[in-house]
C-alpha cells in the first residue's frame, strides 16, 4: 500500500498495476492470416489492450492483445469485419 499524503495527487496511468485480465472467462485469439489491419479492434477495445506490434518472426506489423488487461468482453470479436478474432473458453 502506498503512503497517504495530505493531498492525494495520484500518478498518471497507475491503474496498470491492476491486471484486470484476471476477470476474464473467454480469451480472444487473432487469426493473423485473416487480419486486414483495419485497427477496429484497437479502436473499440475498452481496455486499451490491443496494440500494433512487430511480429518477432516475420517482422510484420500485427495486432496483439495484452492479456494482462483484456477482460474478454468480445467487442473485438463482434466488430472484426473479417471474423479474424475468436473468443475461446480460457483454461486457467
Amino acid at each position: 500500500m502506498s503512503k497517504v499524503k495530505a493531498i492525494e495527487f495520484v500518478e498518471p496511468g497507475s491503474t496498470q498495476i491492476t491486471k484486470t485480465g484476471a476477470w476474464r472467462t473467454f480469451v480472444p485469439r487473432i487469426d493473423q492470416k485473416k487480419c486486414i489491419k483495419c485497427s477496429l479492434c484497437e479502436i473499440y477495445c475498452p481496455e486499451s489492450s490491443v496494440h500494433q506490434v512487430k511480429d518477432p518472426i516475420s517482422g510484420d506489423l500485427i495486432f496483439d492483445i495484452d492479456l494482462n488487461y483484456c477482460k474478454g468482453c468480445g467487442i473485438c470479436e463482434h466488430e472484426c469485419p473479417r471474423h479474424a478474432i475468436k473468443l475461446e473458453l480460457e483454461e486457467k
Binding site: M1, V4, K5, A6, I7, E8, F9, V10, E11, P12
Partner: protein, 392 residues
C-alpha cells in the same frame, strides 16, 4: 491614515490587497456589498484578477475548486443560505486541501426567512474542515484577511478559512478604519506556490476516491493540520502586529480577565457591547472580564484552559443554537474543560438570533445570572432575550 468607510468596502479592499487571482461572486444580503466593491475595483483596474459572476453560491465555490487546483489564490464571500447551499463544496475544498479564503457575513438561516445577523450559518458549519476566525470589528476583519491567507497557504496546513464577520453590524457600518497598504501586504504575504497543479506536463490525478483502507488517514491529516494551525494562527497574528502595529489576538483575546471572578466568553461583534458593559460594571466594583474566542476552528482548548483557569464562573454568550442540545460554543467549552482540573461552573446563553440587539442591559443580566450560578446552577442553558409574552 484612518478613513471612514463601509465595513464591506474595507473587507473588499483588504481582499484586493491580498492580490487574489480569482474572485467569484454571487449576491446575497448582507454580503453583497463586498462583491460589489470588488467588482468596482476590477472595473476601475484597481484589482487585477479574474472576476466571475456565477449562477449560485454552489457554483461560486465550485469555480474556486477548479481555479485552486490550477494554483490560483482564490477569494469569495457569502452568508447564511448561500453558505448552506455551498455545504457540499465546503467539505470538498477542505478535503482537497485548497487554501481558499472566504468572508462569511454572518446571518440567520430560514425558516422563517430572516436576513439579519446571527452566527448560526458558520457555527453550524464548524465540522466541514475549514478554519474559522471570528472578528469583533471592521478593523479586525480587514487585518484578519491577509492573516487568513498566510495561515491557509502554509504548506503544513493547506486548509481553507472562513473569516466570520457579523452581517449588517460590521458589513454595513461606517467607521474609521486603517486600510491596508498593498505593497506592505505583499511583503507580509508571499506568493502562493503549491506543490502540484493541474498541468499537462506533469499530469496528476486530483480527487481520486478513497476506500475504507485510506479514508480515515485523509481525515486524520486534516485534523492534524488544524492542530498545527493553532500555533500558526498565534504566530501570524504576532507577525502581523510586528509589521502593521495592530493585533486583536491570536487564538483568543482577553479584556479585564486577569482578576475577573465572572468571565464572559463570546465571539464576534457583540464584544464591543460587552466591553462597554464591563467598563460600567467594573466602575461599580463588579469583577467581570471577557475572553474572546477568535479561532473557533481549530478550537483553542489549551489557550482557553489557561485563560479561564482562575475564573469563578463562566457565562457563554452566542448567536447560535444547536436545536436539540444547547449551542455550539458552550458545548465545546465544557468539553474542553472536562478532562482538566477546572471545575468552574459554566452557563450558556443564546442571544441575538435573527438580528435581535444584544444590549448592555442584557450583558448585565447575564453577569447577574452568572454571579448567582456560583452558588449553584439553576439553568445550564437558556434563550436570554426570549419574549415570553408572545409565546403560545
Amino acid at each position: 491614515m484612518m478613513k471612514v468607510v463601509e465595513g464591506s468596502y474595507a473587507v473588499a479592499h483588504a481582499a484586493m490587497c491580498c492580490s487574489p487571482d480569482v474572485v467569484s461572486a454571487y449576491p446575497i444580503t448582507p454580503q453583497t456589498h463586498i462583491v460589489e466593491h470588488l467588482s468596482q475595483m476590477v472595473a476601475d483596474g484597481e484589482l487585477d484578477a479574474e472576476f466571475l459572476t456565477v449562477d449560485s453560491e454552489f457554483s461560486a465555490l465550485s469555480v474556486l475548486v477548479g481555479a485552486s487546483a490550477m494554483g490560483a489564490r482564490c477569494y469569495s464571500s457569502t452568508t447564511s443560505q448561500g453558505l448552506a447551499l455551498m455545504y457540499e463544496v465546503l467539505y470538498n475544498v477542505s478535503g482537497l486541501r485548497m487554501p481558499v479564503v472566504m468572508t462569511v457575513a454572518n446571518r440567520a438561516l430560514g425558516a422563517p426567512l430572516n436576513i439579519w445577523n446571527d452566527q448560526q450559518d458558520s457555527v453550524g458549519a464548524r465540522d466541514v474542515g475549514w478554519l474559522q476566525l471570528y472578528v469583533e470589528n471592521v478593523q479586525e476583519a480587514v487585518d484578519t484577511t491577509p492573516q487568513a491567507y498566510k495561515i491557509a497557504e502554509d504548506m503544513g496546513i493547506l486548509t481553507p478559512i472562513m473569516v466570520c464577520m457579523d452581517g449588517f453590524i460590521l458589513t454595513h457600518v461606517y467607521e474609521p478604519v486603517e486600510l491596508l497598504d498593498k505593497e506592505k501586504v505583499a511583503g507580509f504575504l508571499p506568493a502562493f506556490k503549491p506543490e502540484y497543479v493541474l498541468d499537462p506536463a506533469n499530469p496528476k490525478t486530483i480527487g481520486a476516491f478513497a476506500d475504507p483502507s485510506t479514508y480515515t488517514e485523509f481525515r486524520y491529516l486534516q485534523f492534524d493540520a488544524q492542530q498545527k494551525a493553532l500555533a500558526k494562527i498565534e504566530a501570524v497574528a504576532k507577525e502581523f502586529q510586528e509589521t502593521f502595529g495592530r493585533t486583536f489576538g491570536g487564538l483568543i483575546d482577553t479584556y479585564q480577565a486577569e482578576d475577573a471572578e465572572i468571565v464572559l466568553v463570546t465571539m464576534g461583534s457583540v464584544i464591543g457591547t460587552i466591553k462597554d458593559a464591563i467598563d460600567e460594571m467594573r466602575a461599580e466594583g463588579i469583577k467581570v472580564g471577557l475572553v474572546k474566542v477568535r479561532s473557533y476552528r481549530p478550537f483553542p482548548v489549551q489557550a482557553l484552559r489557561k485563560a479561564l483557569k482562575d475564573a469563578g464562573v463562566i457565562a457563554v454568550i452566542e448567536k447560535d443554537v444547536s436545536i436539540g442540545n444547547e449551542a455550539g460554543l458552550v458545548t465545546d467549552l465544557k468539553a474542553a474543560f472536562y478532562n482538566s482540573k477546572i471545575r468552574t461552573p459554566i452557563i450558556g446563553f443564546t442571544a441575538g438570533l435573527g438580528g435581535r440587539d444584544i444590549t448592555v442591559k442584557d450583558i448585565r443580566k447575564i453577569t447577574e445570572k452568572a454571579s448567582a450560578a456560583r452558588k449553584g446552577i439553576e439553568s445550564e442553558f437558556e434563550f436570554l432575550d426570549l419574549r415570553t409574552e408572545i409565546l403560545p
